[in-house]
């Protein structure tokens, strides 16, 4: 589904990703872990096409197409979803209105009829239960005045409504208390299907207590320095990221950005 080869990218002339390789197959869940500043969020933003980042080398093939040539909206319409680490507020636009615009624009481009207000509301209600939110949530303006937990749940609600093929979750677990973490994790688990895939970008392994990854990758200083099964996350949790630095000389020196 997704094949990243030797990806180099940066912002303002500063290189952050220094040759990333990653293969994600349909039905898989991958966890990308790493210390702060290792490039995890940059990877997520580059995949989604954020204009602030420049790709300097490498390629990303998604479903047989060159992902890097597509506009952000074309990537989204092709089934790529990014759950933002810091979801953006859109004052005055209700979550329902926002999602309806998204769903219908995607449907129109796929040659499908737009959903009318009733059909859309039905879809939305069904997905709301997945993230354990009540209906008043969707008439509030997108992320405006939301708590950290509500913002993250809203991302998962959007994920559920849009039903993408590949979802990249950027630190969706950060800032959540244990109950919210459970709700978000259950929501994500409820959306796993054999025909989609998931990339979890996270600093901590606690989310992986709820969602079992097929593979865990360690991103360090802009490179994937280690990959393994789900047990790798536990090792990281126990030993900390310093262990990687000692273990993998290639990863050093930390902080030499």
């Amino acid at each position: 589904m997704l094949s990243i080869r030797n990806l180099h990218a940066g912002v303002d002339g500063r290189e952050i990703l220094r040759g990333i390789d990653l293969e994600v197959k349909t039905g898989e869940v991958h966890a990308v872990m790493g210390p702060n500043g290792s490039g995890k969020s940059t990877l997520a933003q580059v995949l989604a096409g954020h204009p602030a980042y420049t790709v300097t080398a490498g390629e990303v093939i998604y479903e047989g197409q060159n992902l890097l040539e597509l506009s952000p909206e074309a990537r989204a319409r092709a089934g790529l979803f990014l759950a933002f680490q810091y979801p953006v507020e859109i004052p005055g636009v209700s979550t329902a209105q926002f999602l309806k615009a998204a769903v219908n624009e995607i449907r129109t481009r796929q040659g499908l009829d737009e959903l009318d207000a009733m059909e859309f509301l039905e879809l939305l209600r069904e997905k709301l239960t997945l993230v354990e939110m009540d209906q008043s949530f969707i008439s509030r303006a997108v992320n405006e005045g939301f708590s950290g937990g509500e913002k993250k749940r809203n991302e998962i609600l959007q994920l559920a409504v849009l039903g993408p093929k590949l979802a990249v979750l950027d630190e969706t677990d950060s800032g959540l208390d244990i109950d919210a973490l459970r709700v978000v994790a259950n929501g994500i688990n409820g959306l796993r299907r054999p025909d989609n895939a998931l990339i979890l970008v996270t600093h901590y392994q606690r989310l992986l207590n709820y969602i079992t990854p097929d593979q865990v990758h360690v991103l360090f200083n802009g490179r994937m320095v280690k990959s393994g099964g789900k047990e790798l996350a536990l090792v990281l949790e126990a030993k900390g990221y310093d262990w990687i630095r000692d273990e993998i000389p290639a990863a050093a020196p930390l902080g030499a950005v």
Binding site: P72, A76, P87, F98, A141
Partner: protein, 485 residues
Amino acid sequence: MSTTAKTVEGLVNREYEWGFVTDIEADVIPAGLNEDVVRLISSKKNEPEFMLEWRLRAYRHWVKMGKDAGEPRWANVTHPPIDYQSIVYYSAPRRKAAPGSLDEVDPKLLQTFEKLGIPLGEQKRLTGVAVDAVFDSVSVATTFKEKLAELGIIFCSFSEAVHNHPDLVEKYLGSVVPYTDNFFASLNSAVFSDGSFCYIPKGVRCPMELSTYFRINTAGSGQFERTLIVAEEGSYVSYLEGCTAPMRDENQLHAAVVELVALENAQIKYSTVQNWYAGDREGRGGIFNFVTKRGKCVGRHSKISWTQVETGSAITWKYPSVILQGDDSVGEFYSVALVNNYQQADTGTKMIHIGKNTRSTIISKGISAGHGNNTYRGLVKVLPRAENARNRTQCDSLLLGDRCGAHTTPYIEVANATASVEHEASTAKISEDQLFYCKQRGISPENAVSLIVNGFCKEVFKNLPMEFAVEASKLLGVSLEGSVG
């Protein structure tokens, strides 16, 4: 250039849909203005003596003002001097006789309004909306007149009111905006040719929206119409106003006056969707919209609300205001003003608190794109007698791109220590992150900008009648094409 700026640019440069010209034989008087022209207009309209006298007083005052100070220069707008002698002050579609019914109205006129989305024919009338259609200098048709008359509601052209209800006209004309008020109001008082008149009797709740649609057609002409709405004790009316004009390279002057009078417990809701031709992308042509709109809450517990969506005009100069004379009266002003390309808007409101416990709310949303310049200018004045007066003002500006301007000029004058006046202001840009967030959900940049701008205007749009809200929201999208979302 950032993606935001490019998107905005793409959005703003859309064609003005209403720029066509109707080819119709018109009764046009020669350009220029003097006392004889004022007399000619009055005689063409067969007016009673009091009207002519009033016009002449206004004209003489205007001439004096022209000699003394000339046009007001305090607004944050610039334009070449207006040659008042080159303007045609009267242009009416020629007709054989006064139209007794719609069948006698020139089909070309009916087609024109149909094309503008204002069907006047019996079969196609907008349900629930009575329309007075004004074409250049005269009102061509008023729908649902008979039905409204059953309730005692008078809704007709100003000319008709002068003939059929001279007592009411004489009593209220100039009672809110005197002919001495300002340069453009004086000019209007001297030469106004038509407009709408509306009278809601005591205790009557007007069952439908009343609406006036203004259309400028003739080249070189100005439009000077006057609207007068009187709501008697305990009555209610919701009034809508729309306007368009052909695309022309020269500027055309529109100097209207609107007066609202609300007696005890009466309520007037006045909504405008202003879409005069704004000029082209280089700022050539477009309407100069220099308008005086004011309401007077004469009676206790009366209420006047202005809601305006301003997307058109090369220059907008307009301050729909409320004089809160009656105790416990309420004034509201909700405004969205959008400028794109080289448009200029200097708009806002005045809330004059005279009575006790009077309350006012001002919510102004300015959107600037392209090289547009948007100024909010407002006055909140609390007089010594206005115990416990309250005002809340919120002025938000949204900038699209980096060549436009937003300015806020609020004046607050308080002469009573029990008053409470709040002013909040903000200026924001559509951020790259907001746009990216929308795009990441599959929304095109154009729709994203439109969505964000509509969200920004939500507090104003929710005060518009339903049909108007939809239209306003669409209009905003159109006006942003090529420069503003």
